[in-house]
Structure formats: structure tokens, C-alpha cells
Symmetry: C2
Subunit: 215 residues, 2 copies
């Protein structure tokens, strides 16, 4: 079997959010799709290891925020490569309560859902949610997972079903590679990494230079 | 609730195929996603009205063929806007048996699956399939649903969860509109429709001019 065939499936880039004892929590999700149109329902696949998974289990609600190509990519670093068990991902991230759920600012649309079904697999739960509220937030082009990979040069969380192990497609052996140890972003700017100013931060997740490791 | 918010979810364009008493059958699917990585599994949502749904139920197997932007869009017309109850969609479509399943030529990758789980909704079944075989078929860029809509000006089957009712975004009141009654393709070429040669066919599903109705 050639696993790379599965990389040709198309996905968006979403934040999946809910509550944990009154505090907003969430994670990045790529695997979400509409299932029925009337009543509208949406399925989202969440890794059982994710803190957000346990919180959706408890509350029975989740919201999907659709990120746009224009969205601040730091949202992906923040929500996709840290755990809500360790950090408050919403710290400094403004949000509104829409359809009972916390919806971070910066997306282009949100879909708030009540869990009405589920499908269990070894590592992920596919939650089915009936849409209780949905709206557009700002104009833009929905960010696809392909855009995230190719244009933003983003990497994949180890908890994602699409995780491909060590990713080396952008390797440039003639130059030292510097990779963010938080989000996996690989620096590829014109200026050599060593000459970047001290206040330079990862364009994807926003951490400082000290988080970049020479490969 | 603003239903248009749901249009911002991203999808690919796939053919979902299986067997019916030794004959290959299939339909277009947009809602497919990888769920687990090891063992690899994929979920696909199929409308219960689709002939393919009944056939997957019987066989317990399905294959996903990933269409590329370069794929012949007639495959979408053929598989997406006719019923396998009435026509042999594979007539004139070469295919190979890959991982026990019929995989039409013209895609860029295939993923053959054995059904291992399911989630029922009012109108659709989400089939979970463990991948039994997968491979790339040719190079290309996976076709997204957005590309299909914007570039190919394709329409949506009434059985799709993303069906939006009457679609009028491309209306041009100053010129008569000609719409294919098989696949919904709206002619928008430079030459007036009336002046097209008699052997002109729908670029999306391949039927003749007589299938285009003045709106």
C-alpha cells in the first residue's frame, strides 16, 4: 500500500472549540464535512488524545471556525501545536459566544453544533453535530490544508490522521535547516537564520528564535 | 442561521465506486476524509438514495478515486448526475481492479477500503473503511470542490449534502442562459450558444446541444 495516495484527499483548516468549566478550549481540525443539509449537520474527526476531545464529550457541543488564507497563521500554531492541558490557548485571543460556543476572532465563518451522533475508531472519534447556529464572519478564501502546507509551509500535528511522520520534502541539504520546535515551521527566508534580528518570531506560531533548532 | 457559512468547508472531488453483481458502479462524492493513520481508515458520506449506497451496503467495500484538476470533467457529469439504476456509468470508461475494487481511469490516486464502521443520519450514511490498497495513478493537483465550482462552473447534485437549491450566482440577465439538463453546466463561452456547431458537447458531462435548455 502506498500511504502517500491518501495525501491527495482535500481538507480545510479549522479550529474546533468548546468549553471546559466555563473556559474556552479548542484545537485545529482538518477533517470536517457537512453530512446532511436539512437539518444541517456536520461531522468532525477529533483525536482522542486531544484535550478538546474530552471537553466535547463532556459538553456535547462543538463549534467549527473556518480559517481563511488571510487569517493570522499564529492561530494554527497556538491551537494546533500546544495542548489545552498545559496552556490557555485563548489567552490573548478575542472570541465571541456564537450559538452557545466560543468562536475565536480571525476566522471567516463559524458553525456551532450540538453532538447528535458519533462513530468510534481506534484513535479518533467522528462527532456528528446538528448545526444550531452558523454565520459568515468576514470575506476571504477558505484556507485549504494544501495551502497551509505549500504556501505557509506548515507541518502536521502528530495527533492528526494525516500525520506523515518525519516530513522532509523541503529539505535543502546545502543550507542548515532551522525548524520551530513548537509548530514545525521550517525557516526558508532569504536572510540566513543566524542573521535574523533577536525579536524575530516564528511566522506560524509566534514563538521566539530560541525555539528554532538546527537540523 | 446562515446556511451559506457551511459553504466555506473545503472538499475534494472523488468518485466512489463498488460492485453490483459483477458490474462496476459508482457516484461522485465530495465528503471523504482520512480518520486514522495506522491502520489507515477513511470515511465517506453517501446519500441513501444513491444506487452506490445500496451496493456498498451489499458488498461491504468501496474505493475512492481522487480526481485531479486535469481529470476529464466528463467523469463528473457521468458519475454525478445520472443514476446507476438507469445507466451503466462505466460504459466507455476504462477501469482497473485495484484492491478488489473497480477504479476508473483518469483519476490521480485511488484508495480501496473495506467497510468497518458506519454512522447513520437522516439522509446519508457515513461509511468508515479500512484501507486495503492505495496508490497514486498520475501526477496532478487534486481537484477541490471550490475549483469545480469556480473554474469548471460545475453544479451540485441534489443528493449532495452541500446542495444549495437553485444556484443563480452566474446569472447574466443581458444574455440568454443555456443550462445542461443533465449536469447543470451553464454555457458561458465567447461564441453565442446558438452559433455553436451541431457536434458540440457539454464540456462537463459530454451530452449534446439538445440537452441545453434556454433559461
Amino acid at each position: 500500500m502506498n500511504h502517500s495516495a491518501l495525501y491527495n484527499l482535500s481538507y480545510g483548516v479549522y479550529l474546533c472549540t468548546t468549553w471546559e468549566e466555563g473556559k474556552p478550549v479548542g484545537c485545529v481540525a482538518n477533517s470536517a464535512m457537512q453530512i446532511t443539509s436539512d437539518p444541517a449537520s456536520v461531522a468532525v474527526s477529533i483525536n482522542k488524545k486531544n484535550y478538546t476531545h474530552a471537553c466535547i464529550e463532556k459538553t456535547g457541543y462543538f463549534a467549527i471556525t473556518v480559517l481563511a488564507e488571510q487569517s493570522d497563521s499564529k492561530l494554527i500554531g497556538r491551537f494546533g501545536f500546544c495542548s489545552g492541558r498545559e496552556v490557555d490557548k485563548f489567552e490573548g485571543v478575542p472570541y465571541a459566544v456564537r450559538g452557545k460556543l466560543p468562536v475565536p476572532d480571525g476566522g471567516m465563518a463559524f458553525i456551532s453544533c450540538k453532538v447528535t451522533g458519533r462513530m468510534e475508531t481506534a484513535t479518533h472519534t467522528v462527532f456528528l453535530g446538528e448545526v444550531i447556529e452558523a454565520d459568515n464572519m468576514q470575506k476571504g478564501t477558505p484556507m485549504t490544508y494544501a495551502y497551509y502546507h505549500k504556501v505557509l509551509k506548515g507541518k502536521t500535528s502528530a495527533n492528526a490522521p494525516t500525520f506523515r511522520g518525519e516530513e522532509t520534502e523541503n529539505a535543502e541539504p546545502e543550507r542548515a535547516r532551522y525548524v520551530c520546535d513548537v509548530c514545525g515551521y521550517e525557516y526558508d527566508g532569504e536572510i540566513p537564520f543566524e542573521e535574523l534580528p533577536d525579536d524575530w518570531v516564528c511566522p506560524l506560531c509566534g514563538v521566539g528564535k530560541e525555539h528554532f533548532k538546527k537540523q
